[in-house]
Symmetry: C2
Subunit: 337 residues, 2 copies
């Protein structure tokens, strides 16, 4: 059974007892906790278009979960429809009026939430994709706060290639018939389905298609796969929420917080946490090469490549069981090291 | 100076003296010829969004062209705005009324054109991308007609990955505000720019972006590159023409013409031409792996990989000088063998 979703706002706001985002002018974090609060704490945020209930369910949901002896906090990415987002903000902040969100906004809130929950230090921060980027930010912005960092299919800086590919879904949505410069009143479904269609092929690999892996998902054809898994999932998101998360992603660059602004190597070298990087061999967003480049600069880092044809998806909740088992094995080892 | 563009229609039509497509109800091929007609003949068609004047200009345009001793025929892909296309057909066949075009339509016309020009056999058929697929079709549909086939960054069958990625630009255009179910009366610029934006990142590689190769094109930023090279080029095409070429591309599969329908290996084995396959190491459309798979079945084939970070573009007119020189060297050797 999924745990209760709770809400947090910092400062003068109602703290751990905040109501849902629609009731708060200030940014509100949706979160769930699993396990006993006096266990060592692990923070797991959601990724682009992820939801708390399913986020890293492969880590917590499996038989004999590798996190059963931890106090697990899962929180929603700002813009991700559970924490404050263009779709759920008070009327005055909805849609085009919602502020531009940064990784910094997420990290400051997550840190405040952890402190409010009585967590002085995280045993680990675990994140897939945009959540891995959040982890890199946490390790750079609050260098003493997390002992370990697990980065699944992600990178410390969003690459130019990644930024360029994100321009595709963005253009598809912004030029769509129902986007209306962001002033849509009915769901911009035509635009969000186009967004999802553009996005979908980047998420996997040519080898995945060559091997007709969609059959493992019970789909008879690529067309069925695209319709069943993308139109109905990402294609049904709120358009502003997708754009909100995406613009945050585009800005990903921890060198903003290192000793020399713009110097990625220096920022990586400033990280005190032990870091486990797990890129996927066929990831078209965050290539394995970039993880090995990062490794050169980390004080304490290791790379374990997920040898998979599942592209970017290999690193997260949508990956196949064998990749999830490999991740669990490596994360379990890393957590006990 | 570019040679004169001429027009060809077969059968009862005016043959080599046909007027432009707007004057013909039947499909019309635009073509240009270079060199003396009694030289050995080489046929070079255009690729997706290519134009005759620039098509393989690197082969014919360079100092001491490797094709100077040949009779070179360049012809336009149907749907490519020079040969019959939704944008230039007679009024009754414009836009949505234009027929669905296949590789077979192109090849039958090209064969008829060559025969009308007095060509009994081609010394070589050279094609990049969709033009490489046309070459594969020619070698399968008319197995005795071409002695040699050069396939640059292409494949005998459009892969599922390729088809899935093409769904992206298609969705962006079809959901755009100005597509109007294909009944636009003003250029669908918003849609075609979105189409180009989606398409653009697939054309190159993550390494190209990592190395900031856009600077070699005189661009200060990725944004400038996208605007200057994609919005203004592909983004200004007629929307129906883009869709027309793309649906042909999607259907690419020479196994329709082999001894056993659907058996790609058998179709490849039926090819009598000597084949030179030149995939690009970083091509996201037509991966090198697929070329090596094809090689296994060809009677007489070889693979020379273009070791380039220019992705798909490495194989054609938009590639960098060093890749073009490598192609020229290999093609020259292959033609004399």
């Amino acid at each position: 059974m999924a745990p209760l979703t709770k809400y947090f706002t910092p400062g003068d706001s109602p703290g751990l007892n905040a109501g849902p985002p629609s009731e708060n002018e200030s940014l509100t974090l949706a979160y769930q906790t699993y396990g006993a609060p006096d266990n060592p704490a692990v923070l797991i945020p959601t990724c682009f278009s992820g939801k708390m209930n399913s986020t890293l369910s492969f880590l917590y949901g499996s038989e004999g979960s590798i996190l059963k002896d931890y106090f697990v906090v899962v929180c929603g990415l700002l813009g991700g429809s559970e924490s404050s987002s263009p779709s759920n903000a008070p009327d005055t902040l909805r849609g085009n009026n919602f502020p531009k969100i940064s990784y910094e906004d997420n990290i400051h809130l997550q840190y405040a939430l952890c402190r409010a929950l009585g967590i002085d230090q995280l045993a680990a921060y675990i994140g897939f994709s945009m959540a891995g980027q959040q982890g890199y930010y946490m390790a750079t912005m609050y260098p003493d706060f997390t002992k370990r960092l697990v980065v699944l299919a992600s990178a410390a800086r969003t690459s130019w290639h990644n930024k360029a590919f994100l321009e595709g879904p963005k253009a598809a949505l912004e030029s769509s018939i129902d986007w209306q410069d962001g002033r849509y009143t009915e769901p911009a479904s035509s635009g969000t389905r186009a967004f999802a269609r553009v996005y979908s092929t980047w998420a996997l690999s040519s080898a995945w298609f060559r091997q007709e892996q969609w059959k493992r998902l019970g789909c008879a054809s690529v067309e069925e796969y695209l319709t069943k898994f993308w139109d109905k999932a990402m294609g049904s998101w709120d358009a502003h929420d997708l754009m909100c998360m995406m613009q945050c992603w585009r800005l990903g660059d921890i060198s903003d917080h290192g000793p020399v602004k713009g110097d990625l190597a220096a920022a990586l070298a400033s990280i005190k946490a032990k870091v486990l990087l797990m890129p996927s061999r066929t990831d078209l967003y965050f290539p394995t090469e970039d993880s090995f480049e990062e490794l050169k600069h980390l004080k304490s880092g290791e790379v374990k490549v997920i040898e998979s044809v599942w592209g970017h998806l290999a690193g997260g909740e949508w990956g196949p069981r064998e990749d999830q088992e490999f991740i669990e094995k490596e994360v379990k080892r890393f957590l006990s090291g």
